[in-house]
C-alpha cells in the first residue's frame, strides 16, 4: 500500500559534494515502508514529473533519504529548508526480500546506491541475521553513511581512486567475502550490479539488485519504466521498475 503524504522537511543537510541528507516528517509513509522501496517526490511547480528517491532508513514518523544533485529536480530538492512541505508518494515498489538472503547476507552499495542498503542492513539485523556491508565510492569526498553502517555490522569501504580506505572496487571485496555469504543484495551503477550478479551466480547464492529507470507515474500505470527481463521462454519481456522493482532477482534481469 502507498499513500500521498504532505511531509514537513525536518532536516536537509549537505553531506558532501552535491550530496544531501533529508529527514522528512512522514508518519503514514514510514508506517508502511520496507527496505529497498522508494518515494516519488514532487519537485516544485517547475517540474511535472516527480523524482524517485530510495528510502534510506526510517524510524516512524521520520523518513530519511539521501540524494545527489544531478539536474534541476534534485537541485530544487537540495534547496528545501526545514519547515518546508514536500508532496511525497510512497512507499512505492517492491523492495529487498532480506529474509531470502539467508543468515549471512552481504549488502553492497555503490555511490548513491549506498543509502538504501542501510535500511536493508538494519532489517537483516532485526531478523537475526549477521550482515556485512561493502560500500564503494568514487573518492574520499563521496563517502557517505559509513558510521551508520559500522554501527550495524562489519563494513568494508572502497574508493575508486584510493583516496580513502581500500583502493579498488566493491567487487574486489565481494570476491573475498563471497565464500562466507548466504546471499547478496546490491544497489548502484548497472555495470557494478552486473559484475556482482555474475559473482553471486558463480558462488550459487541468491542475488537481488535494485534497478533504475526514468519514471512517469511511479505506481505501475503508465508502463514507461521498462526493465528488460528474461522470460521463461528465453525471450525478453519488460518488467516495470516502479512496481515489479526496483528490486529484482539478478537472475531475472536481462543485462
Amino acid at each position: 500500500m502507498s499513500v500521498q503524504e504532505i511531509c514537513r522537511v525536518a532536516e536537509n543537510t549537505q553531506l558532501g559534494d552535491g550530496l544531501f541528507l533529508m529527514v522528512l516528517h512522514a508518519p503514514k509513509t514510514t508506517e508502511l515502508a520496507q527496505c529497498g522501496q522508494f518515494v516519488h517526490i514532487a519537485c516544485g511547480e517547475g517540474h511535472l514529473l516527480r523524482r524517485p528517491i530510495s528510502i534510506c532508513a526510517w524510524k516512524a514518523p521520520e523518513l530519511r533519504i539521501v540524494f545527489q544533485v544531478k539536474g534541476e529536480g534534485t537541485k530544487w530538492l537540495s534547496e528545501r529548508r526545514t519547515g518546508d512541505e514536500l508532496d511525497v508518494l510512497g512507499p512505492l515498489g517492491h523492495g529487498f526480500d532480506v529474509g531470502a538472503l539467508g543468515s549471512a547476507p552481504v549488502f553492497i552499495g555503490g555511490g548513491i546506491g549506498v543509502p538504501p542498503m542501510l535500511g536493508c542492513v538494519r532489517e537483516a539485523v532485526k531478523q537475526g541475521a549477521k550482515p556485512a556491508a561493502i560500500l564503494g565510492f568514487r573518492n574520499k569526498g563521496a563517502v557517505i553513511l559509513e558510521g551508520d553502517f559500522r554501527d550495524e555490522c562489519e563494513t568494508f569501504v572502497t574508493t575508486d581512486d584510493g583516496s580513502y580506505a581500500r583502493h579498488g572496487f566493491v567487487t574486489d571485496v565481494l570476491k573475498e567475502q563471497i565464500a562466507s555469504a548466504s546471499g547478496v543484495a546490491a544497489c548502484g551503477p548497472k555495470p557494478m550490479l552486473k559484475a556482482i550478479a555474475a559473482i553471486a551466480k558463480q558462488a550459487g547464492v541468491p542475488c537481488q539488485v535494485s534497478m533504475e529507470e526514468r519514471m512517469g507515474c511511479g505506481i505501475g500505470a503508465c508502463l514507461v519504466c521498462a526493465c528488460a527481463l528474461k522470460a521463461k521462454d528465453g525471450e525478453t519481456r519488460y518488467g516495470h521498475v516502479c512496481k515489479d522493482g526496483p528490486v529484482f532477482n539478478a537472475e531475472e534481469v536481462e543485462w
Binding site: H47, V224, C225, Y238
Partner: protein, 303 residues
C-alpha cells in the same frame, strides 16, 4: 447542485471526466489513491490483437510542462484484457472505454469486432499513435486512410465508436470530417504531438525510439484550438484531452467544444488530479449557476 451527467453518444457518463488511454493502465494502480467509481469513465491502455512488449527504456523524457513517451503500446493483447481486466473494472460504477490500435485495416476490423462483443461501454479507436512505426501514424494523418479504416471498423462496431485523432496534421478539421463521414460516432483528441529530446552529455536521443509523443500542460493550448476547430467542422460528440490539469481547464475544454474530457499526464504529477478536478468543476458550475455540463459544451462566443 449542478448536473454533471453527460450523454456521450448514447452512453450516460456520471460526469464528464474520464482517464486518457495509456496513462491509467487498467485502473488498479490509481484505484489505490481514489475510488474509481468517481470517474465518468476509464480509458484503458491501448490494446492490440496480440501481446506487445513495447519499446526498450528509456520510454519517457521530461520537457517544460510536458513529457515525451515512447511506450510503444505495451499491452497484454485484447484477449487477456477481456478475460483478466474487464471483471476488475466492472466492480466500479463507471464506464469502460476500450482503446484499440492496429497495423492494418483488417486488424482494426478484428479488434473492433472482438471488443464489441465484450462487456465494454465505448470503443476508442487510436489511429494516431506516433510510436508504432508501421500503421498508426499513417492512418491518422491522411483523410483517405482515415475514411478507409474508420468505415471498415464501423461496419463491425456494435458499440459507439470514438475515433482518436492525431494532432500532427496540417488540417485537423479535414481529418475530423473524414472520420465523421466514415461513420465515427464520436471523436477524441488530441493524441500526443511528436517531439524529441537529446541528452547533451551522451549526445544521444533520450528516448530509445528517438522521437516520442508530447503530452501534459504544455500541449493544452494546441488541444483547445483543435477541439474548437473540430467542433466547428463536425457534429458528433467530442472527447477533449491534452494537458488538462484542473477543473478550470475542463471548463475551458468544454467551452471550446468538448462534450466530455480525459485526463492523463497530470496524474503523474498528482495521482488524485481527476477527483480534485471533479470537485473544482462542480464548485465552479455551482458558483456560476451552470446547471448542466451541456450548457458549457461549445459555448465559447466568438466575434
Amino acid at each position: 447542485m449542478a448536473d454533471l451527467r453527460v450523454n456521450f453518444c448514447g452512453v450516460e457518463l456520471k460526469n464528464p471526466i474520464t482517464t486518457a488511454s495509456g496513462t491509467f493502465g487498467f485502473g488498479h494502480e490509481y484505484g489505490e489513491f481514489f475510488d474509481l467509481s468517481q470517474l465518468g469513465g476509464i480509458g484503458v491502455k491501448g490494446l492490440t490483437p496480440t501481446e506487445r512488449l513495447g519499446n526498450p527504456a528509456p520510454r519517457i523524457a521530461e520537457t517544460p510542462q510536458g513529457i515525451l513517451n515512447c511506450v510503444g503500446l505495451q499491452n497484454p493483447g485484447i484477449d487477456r484484457f477481456i478475460k483478466e481486466q474487464i471483471p476488475f473494472l466492472r466492480q466500479y460504477d463507471t464506464k469502460i472505454i476500450a482503446n484499440v490500435s492496429g497495423n492494418t485495416v483488417e486488424e482494426y476490423e478484428g479488434m473492433v469486432e472482438k471488443i464489441s462483443d465484450a462487456d465494454v461501454d465505448l470503443i476508442e479507436m487510436n489511429i494516431s499513435c506516433p510510436n508504432v512505426k508501421c500503421g498508426g501514424m499513417a492512418f491518422g494523418t491522411q483523410p483517405k486512410m482515415v475514411e478507409e479504416v474508420v468505415s471498415a471498423a464501423k461496419a463491425k462496431a456494435k458499440k459507439p465508436l470514438i475515433v482518436k485523432l492525431s494532432p500532427n496534421v496540417t488540417d485537423i478539421a479535414e481529418i475530423a470530417r473524414a472520420a465523421e463521414s466514415a461513420g465515427a460516432d464520436a471523436l477524441s483528441l488530441i493524441n500526443t504531438l511528436l517531439g524529441m529530446r537529446i541528452d547533451i552529455e551522451k549526445r544521444r536521443p533520450i528516448l530509445s525510439n528517438v522521437m516520442g509523443g508530447l503530452s501534459g500542460p504544455a500541449v493544452f493550448p494546441v488541444a483547445v484550438r483543435m477541439v474548437y476547430q473540430v467542433r466547428k467542422a463536425v457534429s458528433v460528440p467530442i472527447l477533449g484531452m491534452g494537458g488538462i490539469r484542473t477543473g478550470r481547464d475542463i471548463v475551458e475544454m468544454l467551452l471550446a467544444g468538448a462534450d466530455a474530457v480525459a485526463m492523463g499526464t497530470v496524474m503523474f504529477n498528482d495521482p488524485t488530479a481527476p477527483v480534485k478536478a471533479l470537485r473544482e468543476l462542480e464548485e465552479w458550475m455551482d458558483a456560476h449557476g451552470v446547471k448542466s455540463v451541456s450548457e458549457l459544451s461549445g459555448a465559447v462566443e466568438v466575434g
